[in-house]
């Protein structure tokens, strides 16, 4: 049994759980839509702030909401792993001759594939709502790179946590970290309009660079200068959280 076959088998199983447990998947679709409506509606006057970089709050919020949906896709995959650990299904994986790396790669690939749903849905909603796509169809390329990357690192975080907690009760912690990583960045305001301790954290929060990567085509031109910090941030987060997830697996399968 090759590692690729096992990885795909576990990924396919994770995707098949979507229609069986829709309640565990819907948050990755409903929550970003909710944030899009709530933030664009409540804070529509932000665009009048001096130096605010968007003409419409929808342009500012849509990439952030899409990335949140992608991150939720990673979190829900972690919750599925926690459920498998809780009900003993994961033990069957461990007892099988499956390559150990595939036990991690399968759910992570599922995270990335699950992220395709918000990555398609949100831009379509954006087109209907009149969001500006400054670089035409190319606008969504940095968004897709950032979204798939966020799904991967959120999956690493959630799966790593699930492997340690071995319980679905870890779900609030998975979500809280995600929530804080977004809201301690430029999710609501650009960096130069943030003040105090939030500004200090947002400056060094890798999510700030990733949001800039995703947003650039919605706010103006796509440039390498805005792209590479986002890619480096994603790579850094993937390296750290990848080790976190791998060590979590090693705790179960020495």
């Amino acid at each position: 049994m090759s590692a690729l076959n096992v990885t795909w088998g576990i990924t396919a199983r994770s995707l098949m759980l979507i229609p069986r447990f829709p309640s565990t998947f819907f948050p990755s679709l409903i929550m970003p839509l909710f944030f899009l409506v709530a933030f664009a509606g409540a804070f529509s006057a932000f665009v009048d702030l001096p130096g605010f970089p968007a003409d419409s709050m929808l342009d500012w919020v849509l990439p952030m909401s899409t990335l949140q949906g992608c991150a939720f896709a990673g979190i829900t995959t972690g919750m599925a792993v926690a459920r498998d650990l809780e009900n003993g299904f994961f033990d069957r994986f461990i007892m099988s001759p499956a390559p150990r790396g595939a036990l991690l790669a399968g759910p992570l690939l599922a995270s990335v594939l699950r992220a395709m749903f918000p990555l398609v849905l949100l831009p379509v909603v954006g087109i209907a709502a009149g969001v500006n796509f400054h670089e035409g169809v190319f606008t969504v390329i940095p968004l897709a790179i950032a979204g798939l990357g966020i799904a991967l690192v959120a999956g690493m975080w959630a799966v790593g946590l699930a492997l340690r907690a071995r319980s679905q009760q870890a779900a609030p912690l998975m979500q809280m970290a995600l929530f804080l990583s977004f809201f301690l960045s430029t999710a609501q305001m650009p960096l130069h309009l943030l003040t105090g301790w939030v500004h200090a954290i947002a400056r060094f929060n890798p999510m700030t660079n990733i949001l800039e990567l995703a947003r650039q085509g919605f706010l103006g031109d796509i440039t390498w200068a805005t792209t590479w910090p986002g890619l480096v941030s994603l790579a850094g987060m993937a390296a750290v959280l990848g080790i976190f997830a791998a060590r979590g697996l090693r705790k179960i399968v020495p």
Binding site: F34, V37, A38, G41, A42, F43, S44, A45, F46, D48, L49, L180, F183, L184, Q188, M189, L193, L194, T195, G196, W197, V198, H199
Partner: protein
């Protein structure tokens, strides 16, 4: 004390003790609003300079009434969840086998939520004052906000208790959490209604939470005003009356099923 009054007092005390003994159940109503307050006060500080924004010292001053009411509403979930747990665990059946007043079963839960939200309001005021909050309405203003928040919390607790009685499942009651979250976002909880536009402004205008929060907020940012206080309190009291009626109907239906 008459026996009925004693039933009310005992079941209210039990509800309060029940909640306090489960710190995990209180954490969402304490921590989430404080996290929102801390984040928004720093992240949205510049927005108070927008033309049309109410005259405030800081976003913290604008936001504190929201935080207090949010804490009251989040805490209300525990009342319904505890009621459902009583049903799941069989305590409810034992209770109705006694000659205890039926309405005290409901009122006990709702009064517990009221008391928790009332004292929580002063805790939030205290924490915010450490970070420079000033309350233009003084102690009377703080008392007014606490009463509006506690009445609103009791109102939402009665809806939550109705769901708990109807479903008999704590999980279902907990599932109503996103509904409160949505109601908060579709209101003027986080930003002034005058700076919203289109259908979102319309939705915030018909949302009673907006009016309740704006009344409480005015006690903080504009000073004590008895008319504003009574306006906010009457909306909260209206929700409480509707919630009590619905929960009484749910209780009557459950008792009829048992008969």
């Amino acid at each position: 004390m008459s026996s009925v009054a004693a039933h009310y007092a005992l079941l209210s005390k039990r509800s309060l003790v029940n909640t306090i003994r489960q710190p995990i159940a209180i954490i969402p109503s304490l921590m989430f609003p404080l996290i929102f307050l801390a984040l928004n006060s720093a992240a949205l500080a510049e927005s108070i300079n927008l033309p049309g924004f109410p005259a405030v010292d800081s976003f913290l001053q604008f936001m504190i009434a929201t935080t207090i009411i949010q804490g009251g509403l989040f805490g209300s979930i525990a009342a319904g969840a505890d009621m459902a747990t009583d049903i799941e665990g069989g305590f409810f059946d034992r209770l109705i086998a006694t000659p205890v007043s039926r309405t005290s079963i409901l009122v006990g839960r709702v009064a517990g939520a009221f008391t928790l939200a009332f004292f929580q309001a002063f805790l939030f005021f205290g924490i915010a004052m450490l970070f420079g909050l000033t309350v233009d309405g003084g102690f009377l203003g703080m008392l007014g906000v606490a009463l509006i928040s506690a009445t609103a919390g009791a109102g939402f607790a009665s809806f939550s208790v109705a769901i708990g009685i109807k479903s008999g499942s704590a999980e279902v009651v907990q599932g109503s959490f996103p509904l409160i979250f949505t109601l908060m976002f579709l209101s003027s909880a986080f930003f002034p209604r005058t700076l919203m536009s289109g259908w979102f402004q319309d939705a915030a205008t018909i949302n009673p939470l907006s009016h309740m929060i704006e009344s409480a907020r005015s006690l903080v940012i504009s000073g004590w005003d008895v008319a504003e206080f009574l306006y906010g309190l009457s909306i909260a009291a209206g929700l409480l009356v509707i919630g009590i009626v619905i929960s009484l109907l749910a209780l009557r239906a459950r008792l009829a099923d048992k008969a």
